[in-house]
Structure formats: structure tokens, C-alpha cells
Subunit: 103 residues, 2 copies
């Protein structure tokens, strides 16, 4: 997750969401210098967020889906808790109504 903390890296990831790009294309679109892009891609790669496909002397980078669905699972574990709490609040309100009717 710390790989996504760096702003430029986040931009790269969001750029790659739509389609794969080469290092040069990424550098152009984000107005970054090539060495920094390579370095950021290295970090993203080691974090498993990205994979490379070498074609000639170009390297095409694309996102890997696993870490994202993994992060999604992690997030669900948070959202679920709130859902459950909401359910319990629901029950609580139902109880109130019943008492109100004298049950």
C-alpha cells in the first residue's frame, strides 16, 4: 500500500487503469523524466502491482488485478462491519416500535 502513497506512482497506476503503456508514453503523458518513471515502475513492480511485457527495446507495463481485488477484500471487511452495525441499529429501531405499540 505504501507503493500507492507516492503521488506520481498513484498517477501512473491511474493512467494504466485504462490501458497498458510503455515507459516513454507514461513519461510523456505525466510530464515526468524517464529515469524517475523507470524507478517508480520498479517499485510498483516489486510491490506486485504491475507487470512488464518486453517488446523489442520497449517495455509495456500493465496493471495486475490480484493486488486490487485483494485490497478490495480488505476494504470489504471494513464496510461489512458497518453494514452489520446498521443491521443491528435496524433491529433496535424495530424493537422500539414494538415497545411503542405495547408489545
Amino acid at each position: 500500500m505504501s507503493a500507492l502513497a507516492e503521488p506520481n506512482r498513484l498517477q501512473i497506476v491511474e493512467l494504466l487503469r485504462d490501458e497498458p503503456y510503455t515507459v516513454g508514453e507514461i513519461a510523456d503523458q505525466l510530464r515526468l523524466r524517464q529515469p524517475q518513471v523507470s524507478k517508480h515502475l520498479r517499485v510498483l513492480s516489486e510491490a506486485g502491482l504491475v507487470e512488464v511485457q518486453p517488446i523489442a527495446n520497449k517495455r509495456i507495463y500493465k496493471l495486475r488485478h490480484q493486488p486490487f481485488s485483494q485490497l478490495d477484500d480488505w476494504l470489504e471487511s471494513f464496510l461489512n462491519v458497518w453494514d452489520e452495525r446498521f443491521d443491528r441499529l435496524d433491529e433496535y429501531l424495530e424493537d422500539l416500535k414494538k415497545k411503542d405499540r405495547g408489545e
Copy 2:
């Protein structure tokens, strides 16, 4: 998102997922020193991930749900792309079958 990049802060957030805690309780459970916990909670608070409820001289910290559902939305925008691509792959395979049958 950089607020979650720090390991101890991530631990704090995961601890708070289950229920609210005071600063001292967090420090005890995670084996951290109180000042660091206070500092981390400050960062989490300024990032909007957490909110405080002062009771006496204690301060009870709990998660806020908005940033998490927001992060979830962001993630969905990634997962959606893969779903769409999977759909297109599906169509592609259907086309192959039709051609195979000579249509």
C-alpha cells in the same frame, strides 16, 4: 492513502475496525508508546480516517466510514475495467465458436 502506508497506523486502523478504543488501549494492544500513538492518531485524524469523542480525560477514537467507501469507489473503477475486459473476452470467444461452426 499515505496515512495508511505507515505499518503502525495500518495496525491502528485494523484494530479500530472492530470497535472504538482509547489511546491507552491502543498503545497497550499494539505494544506502542503513548506519544507515538497520539501522533499516529493525529495523522489519521487529519486524514479524516478517524474521529474522536472526548470522555473525561480519555479520548475515544473510532473510524469514519466515508473515506473507506470512497476508497472502495476508487477501487471499483479498477475492478470494473477488468470486468468489462472479461466481457469483451467472452464475446471474442463466442465469435470464435461461431466461426468454428462455419457461420
